[in-house]
């Protein structure tokens, strides 16, 4: 069991301490509900670009990485379609200094015009990496294709055109209006006390003021699929991505999406791994993600295959989705194995690095208001088989499906596809 303590400041800032009495290191995460979904289309990618700019320092901290190095800390940051989170792990004794440093950087970032220009080259280089790597290309297209007209339909990194269109004043305004205390979640994991964390936050005026920003508005997601997307690229192999939008909200629905991820593609004995890897040998491995955003969840799986195997792959995918919809004969043993796999994956990710642990916890808190590992495990452990089957019927509906193919595809080749 892990013990968490929450302190909510009067300005809305939420501070959570996950107490780990025997931990030698500590993790700090600071998150904002700022991501692709908060951007205007002409500056798509600005949240991610801003994340990079935070590392350019302030008037008093010129070299961010050197300052973290001195605290024995590893740092990083992550921008997703709905949130940006800054993370670090360090020896326990420096964790308050690490929190203090992040708070300073996130309130006082200089964002100099020259630095902005220089960083544009780095952002474009990152963008071209995703264009050159079919796996990343399909992944970044998944939310765009699946959520269509909904604000979640965004690529995070933006396009070459929008990255080039981001100006200094737009960046500055975006930073000042959205990185405000009312929006902020701070998650700290380690052998620490809440008093010291509160003192640290109170020590920086910026985080105790009552600045108001635009309220984050959320919109119900209505499935609009099925959709197919073809990305023509001169690659030898074909990269296939399958995305399903999951309902969100109740614990049962959420646990169902996670277990379905294990049953469909991430489990060692999952249906697609069995059919595509072990039996037909149409691919070597599958990669699966199941993010649960506030407005919808997503089950995304991707793999490479040879172009001559494409029709077999599509047949297997459509048949599998059909079987999931008509799931009256689903063996309970498969459900139990998938459930155990999902629990194993969650346990493993809790035990991963402090950076990853706090990143996930901050994400969860931004999306649901709180995070409890024990509760998440219990949700998986107690999910009823009938409830699962009912939810799977919903998740595998054709309207909730998007298929993405990247490679030497003939335009229109997936149009005849019937889910």
């Amino acid at each position: 069991m892990t013990d968490t303590e929450t302190h909510k400041f009067s300005n809305g800032l939420q501070l959570v301490l996950e107490k780990l009495p025997k931990a030698k290191s500590a993790g700090v995460a600071i998150g904002f509900p700022v991501g692709g979904r908060t951007e205007k289309p002409d500056v798509s990618g600005i949240s991610h670009y801003l994340e990079h700019m935070i590392f350019k320092g302030t008037k008093t901290v010129k070299s961010v990485d050197t300052t973290f190095d001195k605290l024995g800390a590893r740092n990083n940051a992550w921008t997703d379609v709905d949130a940006t989170i800054y993370i670090a792990e360090s020896p326990k004794k420096y964790s308050i200094n690490v929190l203090d440093l992040w708070l300073h950087l996130l309130s006082e970032a200089s964002i100099e015009p020259e630095e902005l220009e220089r960083e544009r080259g780095v952002i474009l280089s990152e963008y071209f990496i995703t264009e050159d790597n079919p796996d990343s290309l399909v992944e970044k297209t998944a939310t765009l294709a699946l959520f269509k007209d909904h604000p979640l339909s965004t690529t995070v990194i933006g396009s070459e055109e929008t990255i080039k269109a981001i100006t200094h004043s737009k960046m500055h305004d975006y930073f000042r209006s959205l990185y405000i205390p009312a929006n902020t979640v701070i998650w700290v994991s380690g052998d620490l006390t809440m008093d010291k964390l509160i003192d640290c936050v109170k020590g920086d005026d910026y985080w105790t003021r009552n600045a108001k920003g635009p309220a984050t508005s959320y919109k119900e997601f209505k499935p609009q699929g099925p959709s197919t997307t073809e990305l023509c690229r001169p690659t030898k192999l074909l990269q296939v991505g399958l995305a399903l939008s999951g309902p969100t909200g109740s614990a049962e629905e959420r646990a169902s999406l996670q277990i379905l991820g294990s049953m469909l593609s991430s489990g060692q004995s999952s249906i697609l791994r069995r059919r595509l890897v072990l039996e037909a040998q149409l691919t070597d491995k599958l990669r699966t993600l199941t993010p649960c955003y506030k407005e919808a969840g997503m089950l995304f799986t991707t793999f490479a295959t040879r172009p001559d195997g494409a029709s077999k792959v599509l047949k297997i995918l459509t048949e599998t989705l059909g079987e999931l919809r008509e799931n009256a004969d689903m063996p309970k043993e498969h459900f139990e194995n998938a459930r155990n796999h999902a629990i194993g994956q969650l346990t493993a990710s809790i035990d991963s690095s402090m950076m990853w642990r706090t990143l996930q916890a901050a994400w969860e808190t931004l999306r649901r208001g709180h995070c409890s590992w024990d509760e998440l495990i219990a949700q998986l452990e107690t999910l009823d088989f009938k409830e699962f089957k009912k939810n799977v019927k919903e998740i595998s509906r054709p309207e909730r499906t998007a298929l993405i193919m990247a490679g030497d595809v003939k335009e229109g080749s997936t149009r005849k596809l019937r889910f």
Binding site: D69, S125, R306, H341
Partner: protein
């Protein structure tokens, strides 16, 4: 140094268990490492295929039954092969540790190579090779071994090539497996919440049948008379290069110095090294500059890489070579070295709390002759001086030991060879 209780137990000749206890973990991680890899391939790709077949089925469990057994206990199991080892690694919720150990022992002890399954695994491995070769980053990093060790067994990709993979038969795998059992050491590393003695007992009891007579194949790298340039042409938006210097290995007294040289350039532990500062922060040339030390037991490669727009290749390559050359020509200021050591220690301490990273670190360090005791490891890092670090760089960063692999739309070989010559002189 924060204390981490590590226990090393010799089970029989060539079979060792390394255990680390961490009371607050919810899961455990186990590594079965066999000291034989692609360097010993009778046909290129053999070790990798053999190891993947272990993840596919056993003599008792068909593929579906084996995969279901893993899911039933919530275990994530991976197979990884390198030039000098094959490993199976699992992470599992703590309460299923014993079952997971039994399963891994079965996968290790009772492999099966039926032709029907081998055909599928070969198709999978060919696909894996093609995937590597269509991405500029992975292609450049894979081919650097070929550039550094041309026409040698160290040089070929661990996956083998589509043509060589095709030649592998059940007989090839059976003979390779028999030979491995006779010669290759086995290391089991285990990290979990139990006391280290208990962890070692559990690992030991899972391995009752194993008895090895190890006399592992010695890896003998040959250095050519000149540096090499290898180009891979790809229709990509960026070009990626990897520069590598041949170094001593993990068992050498130089290993701690090499680790700090890697950190200095920008390692996975400390990415914000000189390459990050020079190529990314100062000039905005690239997103992912970095360095990696691949240290086998007798030799290694200290590599530096970056992916940039095609027209920026010469500038980025010159800068990278300059960053490497500076390590050779100027001793690091004492203050910087002290900071680097402190950072290294703190990152190792943090890493040892992560089960899969800790189990892999322990198994590899034990196998390759580096320290497994965190205190001894760190005392060797502490003993490094700026001058002996510079001398280590001087030994490796010479014109005959540095090679380049480049993938995308690279300049001509002549241009690259000239840049390399200028950059290492």
């Amino acid at each position: 140094m924060v204390t981490f209780p590590v226990l090393v137990r010799k089970v029989s000749r060539g079979v060792n268990i390394v255990a680390l206890s961490n009371a607050f973990l919810r899961s455990a991680s186990i590594v079965f490492l066999v000291g034989r890899g692609s360097y010993s391939d009778p046909i290129e790709g053999c070790a990798c295929i053999e190891n993947s077949m272990r993840l596919r089925l056993t003599s008792r469990l068909d593929p579906l039954a084996l995969q279901a057994s893993m899911d039933r206990i919530g275990a994530t199991v991976e197979a990884a092969t390198d030039r000098d080892f094959m490993l199976l690694r699992a992470q599992v919720p703590s309460k299923k540790l014993e079952e997971c150990l039994r399963l891994l022992a079965e996968m290790y002890e009772s492999p099966s190579f039926p032709r029907s399954e081998l055909v599928k695994e070969k198709a999978s491995q060919r696909l894996a090779y093609e995937k590597i070769m269509q991405d500029p980053m992975t292609a450049s990093m894979t081919n650097i071994w070929k550039a550094a060790f041309p026409r040698q067994r160290l040089g070929h990709p661990v996956t083998g090539y589509p043509k060589t993979i095709e030649k592998i038969t059940p007989k090839t795998l059976k003979e390779f497996d028999d030979q491995t059992r006779r010669t290759a050491p086995l290391i089991i590393s285990i990290v979990g919440k139990h006391r280290e003695e208990t962890l070692a007992d559990l690992a030991s009891s899972a391995l009752e049948k194993v008895s090895l007579r190890p006399s592992p194949e010695k890896i003998t790298p040959r250095l050519g008379p000149k540096s090499n340039v290898l180009r891979t042409l790809l229709n990509a938006q960026q070009t990626t290069f990897t520069v590598a210097a041949v170094t001593d290995g993990a068992s050498s007294p130089d290993y701690p110095k090499l680790l700090l040289l890697e950190d200095c350039l920008g390692s996975e532990r400390h990415y914000a090294g000189t390459l990050f500062k020079e190529l990314r922060e100062k000039r905005g040339l690239t997103y992912f500059p970095g360095a990696r030390l691949f240290a086998l037991r007798p030799c290694g490669l200290l590599t530096a890489h970056a992916g940039v727009k095609h027209e920026k290749i010469s500038e980025a390559l010159r800068l990278t070579l300059k960053c490497m050359r500076d390590l050779r020509d100027k001793a690091l200021p004492e203050k910087s070295l002290k900071e680097l050591k402190t950072l290294h220690r703190q990152i190792i301490e943090t890493m040892l709390e992560v089960p899969t990273r800790a189990s892999t670190w322990l198994a590899l360090n034990f196998f390759r002759g580096a320290e497994t005791n965190p205190e001894s490891y760190m005392s060797k890092i502490e003993a490094v001086t700026a001058e002996n670090m510079r001398k280590t760089a001087e030994k490796s960063l010479t014109s005959t030991r540095v090679s380049i692999s480049i993938a995308g739309k690279p300049p001509s070989i002549k241009n690259l060879a000239e840049t390399l010559k200028e950059g290492t002189e």
